[in-house]
């Protein structure tokens, strides 16, 4: 658990982060969204003390982060940044092993961990261990960057625009990989992004920042339904709002009995996917199946459109 209490950072008297308080629950993803200059990156960097706060307290699992030397604090917190920040003079394996080496793990344990992470990220250890970062594609570099951040099995992972340099297709894949890995390790993730779509997709809770102030910190559905200020509403984008809202939930609750023609959708698909499929194929209903492929019922246009309306306050 990360508790941030009235945290302020001033540069030459001007606050860039202004009295921000928020709590990130264990095993969840908090997405900090804002435009450039909103103070979101400074807020993130204060958590591992790359930036020292001017005022306020950060507690991790109840312990004030100032209680231990900054470099020791950072070794316990994963850190991944935009443009990956891999060390160009070190191989993939050496890059991933950075924190384990700093923490004095023995060689066998480090090698095993490196191979495990490479496999997890679908990079064949035999082929990739001894390559240099410049020999990798952008997507591979990004994966190695996140693998490096996870190498010492940190409870907390900080990510600063980790997918910013990727093209849309690889970006979607990287986001899904992150969700999978977060569920597997139960890592608490704080992620900075300027992309509301990414925040809604990944975040259990979203923190919207502007001018150093935390405008709203809530679950995605709440942010979409009740934006706290005009700025939050602008950030959501009124044209996309119903579709983003639909994207938050799976089909489960809207499945009704009955049959329908055509290709079925799995019940784990989002409501937005289902509506898009219905609109595009010109159908009124489509069949829904469970993970094993067994029919569960159908979902109709009417039911989905009803769900897209703004929920009553």
């Amino acid at each position: 658990m990360i508790e941030i209490e009235s945290l302020t950072k001033r540069y030459a008297g001007t606050p860039v982060v202004d009295a921000v308080s928020m709590t990130v629950d264990p095993h969840t993803i908090a997405a900090i969204v804002g435009t450039s200059g909103s103070g979101k990156t400074t807020l993130l960097r204060m958590i591992n003390r790359l930036v020292e706060p001017s005022e306020g307290v950060i507690r991790i699992d109840g312990k004030d982060t100032r209680e231990m030397p900054a470099h020791e604090l950072r070794r316990g917190i994963g850190y991944a940044i935009q443009g990956h920040g891999l060390f160009p003079h070190r191989t993939v394996a050496q890059n991933i092993a950075t924190v384990p080496v700093l923490s004095g793990w023995d060689k066998a344990r480090i090698d095993a961990k490196v191979d495990e992470l490479l496999e997890l990220y679908q990079l064949d250890p035999q082929a990739f261990r001894d390559r240099y970062p410049h020999e990798l594609s952008g997507g591979q570099q990004q994966r190695v960057g996140v693998a490096r951040a996870l190498a010492a099995e940190p409870n907390i992972l900080l990510m600063d625009e980790p997918f910013g340099a990727l093209d849309p297709v690889i970006r979607a894949k990287a986001q899904d990989d992150l969700m999978t890995i977060q569920q597997r390790f139960g890592t608490t993730i704080v992620l900075v992004t300027h992309d509301m779509e990414e925040a809604i997709h990944l975040g259990d809770r979203i923190a919207v920042m502007d001018g150093g102030k935390l405008l709203q910190y809530a679950e995605p559905a709440e942010i979409l339904a009740n934006p706290a200020t005009d700025f939050v509403e602008t950030l959501i984008g009124s044209a996309d709002r119903p579709f983003r809202y639909l994207s938050l939930s799976a089909l489960e609750a809207v499945v009704e009995d009955g049959a329908a023609e055509g290709e079925p959708l799995p019940v784990s698909a989002t409501r937005r996917d289902a509506l898009a499929e219905l609109l595009w194929s010109g159908r009124n209903a489509l069949p829904v199946v469970d993970a094993a492929g067994a029919p569960l019922g159908r979902v109709t246009r009417e039911a989905l459109l009803e769900q897209a309306a703004r929920p009553a306050a």
């Binding site: 591992n48 950072r74 443009g83 920040g85 891999l86 160009p88 960057g145 951040a149």
Partner: protein, 406 residues
């Protein structure tokens, strides 16, 4: 794009003239210089003794007929190989054969022209010879570049060339050349001054690295220090070298006279100490400046990641910043070494020794052969140092910067 290229390629080639398609551009220059050097330029100069004006001898008049013909043929063939578009390996072989023939036959010319039992006559290479050597050295360097030899192979070529040179000297075929006659009279001091020269050039470099790299790191970490340190070093660099050697005489003389023990370790107003200090001062700017530039060139993201993952400042310096800055620092060291090997000749003016001793003695006696005895080894040493360090820079680059720029 690919199809357009494929279509256009043969047409363009067909339109090119015979000249453009068969002739190598650099080869035209090489062949022209070879013709001037062999046909117009004098091959050697013959003098009655070491200080009178000499008379020029062409290849035809400096060598017996068979040797003159042999040299003309070798030079003409090498020039032809250079002129046409030929494989780099063949060009290398031709240029080396030409250089070797020139080296051996200039020695033979000296032996051929020296009258029996006359130890005053001096035969020295003339500008035609130097032009030919220079010309084929360019061809050698060019063909080595075209072969794209890996760094270690280049050092190997250097070692082989040095061995070949040593063999030519040891074989005695140059013994009648004027420069070797000067050497024969000074064999023991030559090696002593050579040692002194190397000590001055390499010792001051080592001291500059020991002092300059930490100073560069300090400049990088503390920006206000950077401006003042680099300004002071810039001013030092602009002091003319002879003036700096002179300026140091007074303070070092004072130190030797007044600081206990200073004179005992060799500090004095003239001699090695001021030469060493001056070379050290000139070396600092390139070392410090390149350290600063190298550290500044470390990717921001790599630095940020290093801090974010919990490296201490010292760990970040040794594991990330320094290895990435190393090729740039090495470039500074290369600049300093080549510069110091040249500058160390001036140390002789204030009694610092080195190859400069022969240069200044030679100027004093208007004996150009003696000047060459000091100048040629200096140039050779600087050239070898440049090749070795270039190879080292490339080796260190392989795993370093390549990634940063990719």
């Amino acid at each position: 794009m690919a199809t357009i290229d494929a279509d256009a390629g043969p047409q363009v080639t067909a339109r090119q003239s015979w000249f453009a398609s068969r002739v190598d551009k650099l080869g035209v220059v090489v062949a022209l210089l070879a013709a001037i050097g062999a046909l117009v330029g004098p091959f050697v100069t013959f003098r009655e003794n070491r200080i009178v004006l000499g008379e020029a001898r062409s290849i035809a008049t400096a060598l017996p007929v068979w040797a003159a013909v042999l040299l003309f043929v070798v030079v003409a063939l090498a020039a032809l190989v250079a002129l046409l578009r030929t494989h780099a390996m063949l060009r290398l072989a031709a240029s080396l054969a030409a250089v070797l023939a020139l080296a051996l036959l200039v020695g033979y010319a000296a032996a051929y022209l020296t009258p029996e039992g006359n130890s005053y006559a001096r035969i020295s290479p003339a500008w035609g010879f130097w032009l030919l050597v220079f010309d084929f050295a360019i061809l050698t360097a060019d063909s080595l570049t075209r072969l794209r030899l890996p760094p270690l192979a280049r050092i190997g070529v250097l070692v082989l060339s040095a061995c070949a040179l040593a063999l030519v000297i040891a074989s005695g075929s140059w013994d009648q050349l004027s420069i070797m006659k000067e050497y024969a009279g000074r064999a023991d001091t030559f090696w002593q001054q050579a040692g002194q020269h190397v000590l001055l050039a390499f010792g001051s470099l080592a001291a500059a690295v020991v002092a300059g790299v930490p100073l560069g790191i300090l400049c990088h970490r503390v920006p206000p220090v950077r401006a003042s340190v680099l300004n002071v070093l810039n001013i030092l660099q602009t002091i003319p070298s002879i003036a700096l050697f002179g300026i140091l005489i007074a303070p070092l003389g004072w130190v030797a006279a007044n600081v206990p023990g200073a004179a005992a370790i060799g500090v004095s107003g003239i001699g090695t100490a001021p030469a060493f200090v001056a070379l050290f001062a000139y070396s600092l700017l390139p070392v410090v400046a390149n350290t600063v530039v190298g550290l500044a060139g470390v990717p921001r993201a790599a630095n940020d990641a290093a801090r974010g993952m919990g490296m201490t400042d010292g760990q970040r310096l040794m594991r990330v910043e320094f290895p990435l800055a190393f090729p740039v620092i090495l470039t500074g060291i290369r600049i300093v070494l080549v510069q110091n090997i040249g500058l160390a000749t001036i140390a002789a003016l204030i009694g610092g020794g080195g190859f400069g001793v022969f240069v200044f003695q030679g100027i004093g006696q208007t004996a150009m052969d003696l000047v060459l005895l000091g100048a040629v080894p200096t140039v050779a040493l600087a050239f070898a140092a440049a090749i070795v360090l270039d190879a080292l820079i490339e080796l260190s680059n392989r795993t370093g910067r390549e990634g940063a720029s990719a």
